[in-house]
């Protein structure tokens, strides 16, 4: 508790010193509260006190200037992606300041606080969001089309991944686990045999566009969050990932995020300028996404017995079986 409190005091002091550069009329900050985060990444909420009143903001940072994660794009690139997405009309929070070393807060950025719901289980059933759910799949299609139209050449550090690269990468990750899963071997074989070619027009792909990473209000999508898995690849990857059953939060009959239909997602995508959706390719990516989530779950076993012995980590490892039943359903159809 002591180190956490010290951390909070240090963050408060650094933000107070930074306040005039976040907003010209700002003199101080207040209401600092840590929202979530792990050992390396933190999310804080605070108010910027200006002469016109309080402005609620969010600080995302990685301590000590380290990168957000081994596989992530880094918080500095994430800030650029969010700003670029906003500029093309994608709902995303306004980035107000990117941290510099002299700010003393590590790497990261400060953005506006957007109110809304991000918990998938609530988004699929909350009565006040019933109206939003009607059009959410179509909106997601439109948003993805805009993301995929972003100028990827502006982000030269993003990894370029073909479908075949991804199969190899995730197969290697699967085989690092001590447990063999015949369903996974079958799925890898099946996906390899039907692998789409490397896309001729590779696009900027969000990489984690799913229910749980979208800020939703009664008016629809208010912000697309968590850009750290962005890369260059097949745009259909994002459409498939959004439909993985694990992100439907119990509403298996609503394939798009637990709130919508495939046809609405695809028509929104095509109406907003996305390339025509090949249904078979989209289903390939949904199957791949299910397997990818399954392999991510298996990785939690080693993490649990190593650096992160938390109950949450143990329970994610025990979620692997959900992807086995989903893969069998997808391969049977």
């Amino acid at each position: 508790m002591n180190s956490a409190t010290e951390g909070e005091d240090a963050v408060r002091a650094a933000l107070a010193a930074l306040a005039p550069r976040i907003g010209s009329a700002a003199r101080n900050i207040s209401g600092l509260k840590r929202l979530s985060g792990g050992a390396t990444q933190e999310i804080w909420r605070f108010d910027l006190d200006t002469t016109e009143g309080c402005r609620p903001l969010i600080l995302r940072r990685a301590r000590g200037g380290s990168r957000s994660s081994v596989t992530g794009v880094g918080l500095d690139v994430e800030a650029q992606l969010i700003a670029a997405a906003r500029a093309t009309g994608v709902s995303a929070p306004e980035v107000l300041h990117v941290l510099a070393p002299e700010d003393g807060l590590g790497s990261g950025f400060i953005m506006e606080f957007v109110a809304g719901e991000t918990l998938g289980a609530r988004i699929v059933k909350e009565p006040t969001l019933a109206g939003a759910r009607e059009t959410l799949a179509y909106s997601c299609g439109q948003i993805l089309a805009r993301i995929h139209a972003m100028d990827a050449s502006r982000f030269p550090t993003l990894v370029r991944q073909t479908p075949n690269d991804l199969i190899g990468q995730w197969h290697a990750a699967y085989r690092r686990d001590i447990i063999r899963r015949p369903v996974f071997d079958l799925a890898f074989r099946d996906l390899s045999a039907n692998c789409p070619p490397a896309p001729k027009n590779a696009r900027l792909v969000h990489g984690d566009f799913r229910n749980g990473n979208l800020m939703i209000g009664p008016d629809g999508v208010r912000a697309v969050l968590d850009w750290e898995l962005a890369h260059i690849g097949d745009p259909m990857e994002d459409l498939g990932w959004l439909c993985v059953n694990s992100w439907r939060f119990g509403r298996i009959e609503k394939p798009v995020g637990g709130f919508g239909e495939y046809a609405d997602l695809y028509s929104g995508y095509e109406a907003a300028g996305g390339s025509p959706v090949n249904r078979a390719t989209a289903k390939w990516w949904e199957t791949f996404g299910t397997l990818r989530w399954g392999v991510m779950c298996t990785g939690s076993l080693a993490a649990f017995r190593g650096a992160d012995p938390s109950v949450e980590r143990a329970m994610i490892a025990r979620r692997t079986s959900e992807t086995e039943i989903d893969l069998l359903r997808l391969m049977a159809n």
Partner: protein
Amino acid sequence: MQDQPHPDEILAAIAAFLRDTVMVKTDPHTAFQARVAANAVDLVRRQLELGAPGEDAELERLQALLGHSGTLTALTAELADALASGACGLATPGMSAHLLASALEKLRVDQPNYSGYRAALATFDTKDA
């Protein structure tokens, strides 16, 4: 003979404490972790209660598919290799039923409320493996 209450009764009390007391009295981040912990206690309770009754049947199915005996771990790895190489697949007689029953057996303990599990039970009308 050990005294009572039984382990499953004590675990039920721990889960109730986490849900009804800890979650109510603590901050949102800790409340979330308390809920995960309560779910974990329930999982352990199910595994203690159900044991591994399906493993004998799973071993029998594997022996029938592969044509020889062995341990559950070794035969599972052999089947995985055969599926990876394409030596067998979903069209192999008994394969689909085996993979389905094995997955359902895990989910019965891991997540009996998972939508994919319930849908599979309804669709395939599978009795306990």
